[in-house]
């Protein structure tokens, strides 16, 4: 079994002192793996990712229980800056490019974390090699690029800090199916170079196709985990998240059975 990179132990997250967003999420990202986090809107995917990257407090959220360990160090009291330095970087949902900076400047911002500016040149080439599409647009303002290009800029920017783990939030949002495939193919390539991924996705089909492991999260709880291939085969997952059921319609009463069962690993 590979070394565990990120370990989330039963965390509880509360927004604004009253709104309970996560009520016990446990997950594990092993080194060199791609892990998908699936769930519907508002189920807590983004919150989980932000908890891992320490961006929660900016939205008045706080971890009230549990712990997060990265390479066996507790990081729940650390800050985003130090985390990026240690190799955990998040790509935010909805891209969040710096719209008044050019594409190249956008990508360069990711490299400020490191001391040596010369390495940035090489890294920039590496980013352009992965994302050929944005090389030709490097001088234009990021605000004027398309959604797919912005996603690539955001990912390229994250790549500049030479991360070990990328937390990728909803990369498929608002993109054409072809582009989604392209982005995930890049994820796979990067993974081969040794970067681990934790991906929050709604598009379960694609996410599971490219992932090694999957977690399904609902109402702030992990309700299911397993190997991505196994999850793809499960009838209940098929029904709920992939939209392909067995013959005929199943009644909701029947397909929700796994909700009531306590997850076996907590």
């Amino acid at each position: 079994m590979a070394e565990s990179l990120l370990k989330v132990n039963n965390i509880e997250v509360v927004y604004n002192h009253v709104i309970l967003a996560l009520r016990g999420v446990t997950l594990d990202v092993e080194e060199g793996k791609v892990v998908s986090l699936l769930g519907a809107n508002g189920s807590g995917k983004t919150t989980t990712l932000k908890a891992c990257s320490n961006l929660l407090h900016a939205e008045r959220g706080a971890i009230t229980k549990g712990s997060i360990e990265y390479q066996n160090n507790d990081i729940s009291k650390s800050d985003a800056y130090n985390l990026v330095k240690d190799g955990v970087v998040q790509v935010l949902e909805g891209r969040h490019c710096f719209s008044h900076l050019t594409v190249e400047e956008n990508i360069l911002t990711g490299s400020f974390i490191r001391e040596n500016p010369k390495e940035a040149k090489q890294d920039l080439e590496r980013v352009y090699d992965h994302f050929e599409r944005i090389r030709i647009r490097k001088k234009s303002l990021a605000g004027f690029t398309s959604g797919g290009e912005q996603q690539m800029i955001a990912m390229g920017r994250a790549l500049m800090s030479r991360p070990k783990l990328i937390l990728l939030d909803e990369p498929s949002m608002g993109l054409a199916p072809q582009l989604v495939e392209e982005i995930f193919a890049i994820v796979k390539n990067l993974n081969k170079e040794g970067v681990s991924f934790l991906i929050a996705e709604q598009n379960a089909m694609v996410a599971l196709k490219y992932a090694d492991e999957g977690y399904i999260i609902e109402n702030g709880r992990v309700i299911l985990k397993g190997k991505a291939k196994e999850l793809l085969e499960r009838p209940d997952v098929k029904e709920m998240y992939l939209g392909v059921g067995e013959e005929g319609k199943t009644s909701f009463r029947d397909i929700k059975y796994y909700h009531r069962r306590k997850p076996s690993f907590t």
């Binding site: 990257s53 961006l55 900016a58 939205e59 985003a80 800056y81 985390l83 990026v84 330095k85 970087v89 998040q90 790509v91 935010l92 969040h96 490019c97 710096f98 719209s99 008044h100 900076l101 400047e105 956008n106 360069l108 911002t109 990711g110 400020f112 974390i113 500016p117 303002l141 605000g143 004027f144 955001a154 920017r157 994250a158 500049m160 800090s161």
Partner: protein, 309 residues
Amino acid sequence: MDWVYLIEVLVGGLMSGVMYSLVAIGFVLIYKSSGIFNFAQGTMLLFASLTFVKMTENGIDFWTALFIAAGIMVIFGIATERYVIRPLANQDLLALFMATVGLATFQEGFSQFIWDSDVHGLQMSKFLDIGLLDPAPIFVSDHIPWLDILIPKFDIFASLVAGSLIVILAFFFQKTRTGLSLRAVSDDHMAAMAVGIPLQTVWAIVWAVTGIIALIAGLLWAERVSVSFTLIEAVMKALPVILIGGLTSIPGAIVGGLVIGVGEKLGEIYLADVFGGQGIELWFAYFMALIFLVFRPQGMFGEKLIERV
């Protein structure tokens, strides 16, 4: 029309414009890096110059006092970041704006509480032996015979200071990594945090630099008017300037200042009679800014609004 007189008016306007620009630069710096509309700029001016003047009045020599005052402003800037801006990071811009108004209220009370609320004069020529600080003006006619106007040497000194500030800051923003981080932060706090730009450090730097700029601007203003409560109103003068120039542009702050300075002087001379009243300078600058903005809603050099639905 007496055109020599016109030139004199224009030069006078340019010179007072430089003074507006000096206040505006600090404004722009903070807005550019954090999107915060810093209303405390005026009280920073007051606090800095009051601190300096009180020290020199107590017999501390010029350079020591300048150094200490700059140190105090830096500490103050860092403290502001730590205790006001950081806890409010990512909040609504209006809340941040109001927080700086709160900061201004605090600082107004604070500076007058630890020092006093008297009017102080400042004459830098008493401390510094620079020719340009000599109160005697330059007679331009000595050099160009047909141009019979006066330019106070101090005005030239102020323009030089402002000019060098711009060059330094422009270099800082366009060429350094910190400068690029600043621009990134102003675009999107959350994303900047996500890529590991140390937001707090960036802001602390900006506030500290702004503090020093406030000291420089404060001293120059103090030399021209005096150190007193009225310095706070410099901020209201700087507002139309930065709005004309564009909130995010440092060259804009300068050009805006010059436009307002010249416009105000011309308005005072040629328009005041039309309106049959004194004191049109109260609103004239705002009307000029308004007309500018109707044609260019983001100011002359401001960043174009990029909007996608």
